[in-house]
Symmetry: C2
Amino acid sequence: MGRWEPNARLRLVRAAIDLFAEQGYGSTTVPEIAERAALTRATFFRHFPDKREVLFAGQQVHTALLADGIAAAPRTATPVEAVAGALDALTSTFTPDQREFGPRLRAVIAGTPELQERAAFKRAGLAAATAAALRERGVPDAAACLAAEMGVHAFYRAFDRWLEAPYRETFPALARHALDELHAAAAALVSGPPSAGPGRPAP
Amino acid sequence: MGRWEPNARLRLVRAAIDLFAEQGYGSTTVPEIAERAALTRATFFRHFPDKREVLFAGQQVHTALLADGIAAAPRTATPVEAVAGALDALTSTFTPDQREFGPRLRAVIAGTPELQERAAFKRAGLAAATAAALRERGVPDAAACLAAEMGVHAFYRAFDRWLEAPYRETFPALARHALDELHAAAAALVSGPPSAGPGRPAP
DNA sequence: ACGGTCATGTGACCAAGTCTCATCACTGCC
DNA sequence: GGCAGTGATGAGACTTGGTCACATGACCGT
């Protein structure tokens, strides 16, 4: 068919983001996206399992990056240190490109429950993978889950700040600050009594 | 139409759970569910916005319960204590009924990515509402998010244990134990150096 | 040239979700 | 007692997401 146009996937992604930003997600049909990318409906679904996924393609890499980053941490590192290192490895891979598409992406997702759902799922997957990598290092389950949640939380928080334009900080630096912030918050939380609130013991 | 059969919603939920458990979620169509409930397709969608939601009806209450529980905590309570109280209020409302449907529900969801997505979304909403309620009390954002995440995590963890049959502990007791466990894990996490891992400072 | 593979186009099909209109029971009012 | 209003339902058409089987044409190695 025609000449072998490279980057069919990329063309679909760009077409989708453009159309979603112009007309909204719900008012854009898959045939429309395919048409703008000079492709057909069927080809779209060959590249993405469903319409939502076109906006989340590439996040799969993040999971691997985070998990590998945890695994690559020195043996002596504490869980939080391992998370910090992995976060650094992950955020270092982000390009100005992604910073440009970011705002439009966030806007579309924020305005579409269907996409928020997918985003929540991706985020949960990221946290689960990170927690698994930490458990692999011998970190007990509860601590692994908590540290993973802190890491993922820091990542998204830093991503938001990275997108807000006038910052002159790098993404890795923002991520580190966010993680430190959460670490300090955790310290403040546990400084109180461990469990003296209301509630009755089991009979 | 016919006599005014009460509990159309409930009949739909039970029919859906039964059919999903029998044939799987993907192999069950909405008309099938409606038929078993002696209703029609259109009526199903009048009661639930989509096919997935039939399994999550009722979780809306949990959000309100958790948030109200946080708000009702005494002024002097620490964030974690407030969460503990709210968790107690929430888990106290669970009935043996829900413990019966639980396992089938979990199984169906675990085997269906589409439903895991919805579950992740609901969970995120729960955490967000809890965090908002904590912020309302003056808890700083980072701490609120972290404490909320601990609470929600403890809730789901306790729910899983509550469903595993041979336990003789009440749901509130399990929740409290789960929260204590996470609290201890957090204390262990922050006992290390705050942020001495790899990674370069911002230029 | 020839056969294989890979990306794509084509068209049919199913099920989810939306919408409009008709129907019937119950309620309250005259 | 009859009559309009309300609310839940049924019926059926329609759009769209998602799947599938099959055909086509370009590239590659022999």
